[in-house]
């Protein structure tokens, strides 16, 4: 409390009472009313029964763990393999997409930072940004056009005689994984680029002069520098992929749900907001736990994210 007061006083001395009040009120409103309270309210909501409006606040409106119990045990006290399976599948798929993104983005970030020069480098940066101005929904739609039954990929494959009947890429989730990989490429490239750019080119040249192979140069010189960037990019890509809703809705197969779609269904189709909130809390906790574990493994702090 004292530290906050001191900061407020320092602000007043530097920029006047007006600015200090503005900063204090804004940060307070932002943290309390926009970030913390809504999460608390959601948690509280997830601990309640789904009651008709007339009974809310009445004697029946008590706390319960029913919604969480449903996630683990379903209605009949057996293990709820379906919902837990969907969560697990979502996490594994998100991890898979993240790894693919690292593999795709690392070389291009390195090339951008150290190999490309002049006009080509400028064009490459612009070329990276332009596709991400297009709406997320339209990007997913583009992949649907590509992978549809009469889409481009099937057309080419069948014309070349690689396969005879159209392959259902949507049902096989190929379209979904490609779309998700595509969707967050930019968020992976820029952190890696920022990290790799700090590397002194002379180090690479020195390693080459000493006779190190390219693999060795990357493994021993470039990768250690790129690690914080990779961790920060991976965190963002993983969280966004696990929490993605648009791409799974548009590109997902009819029988293959993403965990966010399950939450969406509790809200919009079953009108059971309480259970939806409980599922949202589960998603939030699992994602945070997963990311913190990864950060522990790769020894990076949250302060490095968003740089």
């Amino acid at each position: 409390m004292n530290a906050i007061k001191e900061t407020f006083n320092a602000f007043t001395q530097k920029y006047g009472t007006g600015v200090a009040t503005f900063v204090a009120v804004s940060v307070l409103v932002w943290t309390v009313f926009l970030i913390i309270m809504p999460q608390v309210a959601m948690f509280d909501y997830s601990l309640r029964f789904n009651l008709p409006a007339s009974q809310i606040g009445g004697p029946n409106d008590v706390y319960t763990l029913d919604n969480y119990k449903y996630f683990f045990q379903g209605n009949d006290n057996t293990v709820n393999y379906l919902d837990m399976g969907i969560l697990l599948k979502t996490l594994v798929a998100a991890l898979f997409v993240t790894i693919i993104d690292v593999i795709i983005c690392y070389p291009i970030a390195y090339i951008l930072a150290h190999s490309a020069t002049g006009v080509s480098a400028r064009l490459m940066v612009i070329g990276l940004i332009v596709p991400f101005w297009v709406n997320e929904i339209l990007r997913a739609f583009a992949f649907r056009v590509l992978f549809g039954a009469t889409g481009m990929v099937n057309g080419i494959g069948m014309n070349m005689g690689l396969w005879d009947t159209p392959i259902d890429f949507i049902r096989a989730d190929v379209a979904l994984y490609s779309g998700l990989t595509y969707a967050y490429i930019l968020l992976m490239i820029f952190p890696i680029f920022n990290a790799v750019e700090a590397l002194d080119r002379n180090q690479i040249e020195a390693a080459r002069d000493m006779g190190a192979s390219w693999w060795r140069v990357h493994w021993r010189v470039v990768l250690p520098i790129a690690k914080p960037g990779i961790a920060s990019g991976s965190t963002m890509v993983f969280m966004l992929t696990a929490g993605a809703l648009a791409a799974p809705q548009i590109l997902g197969g009819p029988s293959n749900l993403w965990f966010t779609q399950l939450i969406y269904q509790w809200f919009n189709q079953s009108a059971n907001w309480q259970r939806g909130s409980a599922y949202a809390v589960v998603l939030l906790l699992v994602c945070i736990a997963f990311v913190m574990m990864m950060m522990r493994v790769f020894k990076v702090s949250i302060g490095e994210i968003g740089r």
Binding site: K14, I36, M42, I204
Partner: protein, 385 residues
């Protein structure tokens, strides 16, 4: 390409492959906007058409959503930029320990799934509304307000990151000097800090506007029964696809490219002016070229070109060609039916020849690939239509 640091054949090939992946889907989508086939595809190519643009503009739901999105975007911009600025300023003054805590709290909304943010927003404001006894037509249950509240939560953090990056280069002695020279603290802020931050304010405003416009995951919950541009688009894509969405992509990509070119012209010009090499440059030294590469001139030229293209496109009439395609399809269908009819006839005759027992058998199994689709209509339709 710089050879010493790995700019060889492999790097070039990889870059090419990467950019193909990046642009390929978009290019294909753009091409499908001009194919008259009612499913977005390139093969088979039917007719060149510009009709999908008018289909797009006549979509009322999308246009209503566009209006809502603009209002929400402007609202989010006016709330999010000041919040982001306040957050960045607070972080710049706090001690290291509190700073880390506050940074974590403020940055977390970027990381947590948008779905969670949307749900927590509607649940929280709904509880508040019930707490103060407000009706369902009040602010607490208004989709536009809730969407702004939900989006501001994390979009302000984007703005904050922009301000933090700018503040890192701020020289605090400037403020101290101003205070020493007798400026009031308020003046020091207005005349030193704000002008220093003004480029960041511009880019933060732009970023918040774009992020608000693009957002789907949070908005789809907070907008309740309403629609923004993105949610209307998503429900259209989910219900069924037609190339008017590709037409929309053409428009968005067009705007983006114009923006990128004008921005590039602006940066290059600023660069040349800053380094003072304008008179020696081949382009900027030439009086005619100098006017032509001015950002405003670039914008005018591009707009004129687009205006001409749009006018030509609006004049283009593809109805003859689409009618031709339709006739061709009908003709093919007619031939198929004819074949089907003959086949049935032949089969019936064969059965008659075999004996009267099979006469009641009226639905022969068709060996053709279209058997399922045309078998029934072939039998039911009047022959030779």
């Amino acid at each position: 390409m710089n050879k010493g640091t790995g700019g060889g054949f492999f790097a070039a090939a990889y870059s090419l492959l990467f950019y193909t992946f990046l642009f390929g889907p978009l290019i294909i989508m753009v091409i499908t906007a001009f194919n008259s086939s009612s499913f977005p595809r390139i093969t088979p190519w039917e007719c060149f058409t510009t009709d999908w643009f008018s289909v797009l503009i006549n979509n009322d739901r999308l246009m209503e959503g566009l209006g809502n999105s603009v209002i929400i975007g402007i609202g989010v911009m006016f709330i999010g930029v000041p919040l982001g600025l306040a957050g960045a300023l607070a972080l710049s003054e706090l001690g290291p320990k509190l700073r880390a805590t506050l940074y974590t709290v403020l940055i977390v909304p970027i990381l947590i799934p948008g779905v969670v943010l949307g749900i927590s927003t509607i649940v929280f404001w709904g509880a508040m509304g019930r707490g103060v006894g407000a009706g369902y037509d009040s602010l607490f249950f208004n989709g536009m307000f809730l969407t702004m509240a939900g989006q501001v939560t994390f979009i302000s953090a984007y703005a904050m990151l922009v301000f933090i990056a700018r503040l890192q280069r701020f020289d605090p002695t400037l403020t101290e000097a101003a205070l020493d020279l007798g400026a009031t603290p308020g003046q020091a802020f207005r005349k030193i800090m704000l002008p220093f931050l003004s480029p960041a304010i511009g880019s933060a405003a732009f970023l918040t506007l774009l992020a608000s416009f693009e957002n789907y995951n949070t908005t789809v919950f907070t907008i309740l029964s309403g629609n923004t541009f993105t949610t209307a688009l998503a429900s259209k894509v989910r219900l069924g696809t037609d190339p008017s969405l590709s037409a929309l992509a053409v428009i968005i990509i067009g705007i983006t490219l114009v923006g990128a070119m004008v921005h590039e012209a602006h940066t290059r010009r600023a660069e040349v002016i800053r380094t003072g090499t304008a008179s020696r440059s081949r382009i900027y030294g030439n009086p005619v070229l100098k006017v032509l590469v001015h950002p405003a001139a670039v914008l005018m030229i591009l707009l004129a070109a687009i205006g001409y293209t749009v006018y030509q496109g609006a004049q283009y009439d593809s109805s003859v060609c689409t009618q031709g395609i339709l006739d061709e399809k009908l003709e093919r269908q007619r031939i198929l039916r004819e074949e089907q009819r003959k086949k049935i006839e032949a089969q019936r005759k064969a059965q008659e020849a075999e004996g009267g027992a099979a006469e009641t058998f009226s639905k022969p199994k068709s060996p053709s690939a279209f058997g399922g689709a045309f078998g029934n209509s072939g039998a039911l339709a009047p022959a030779g239509d």
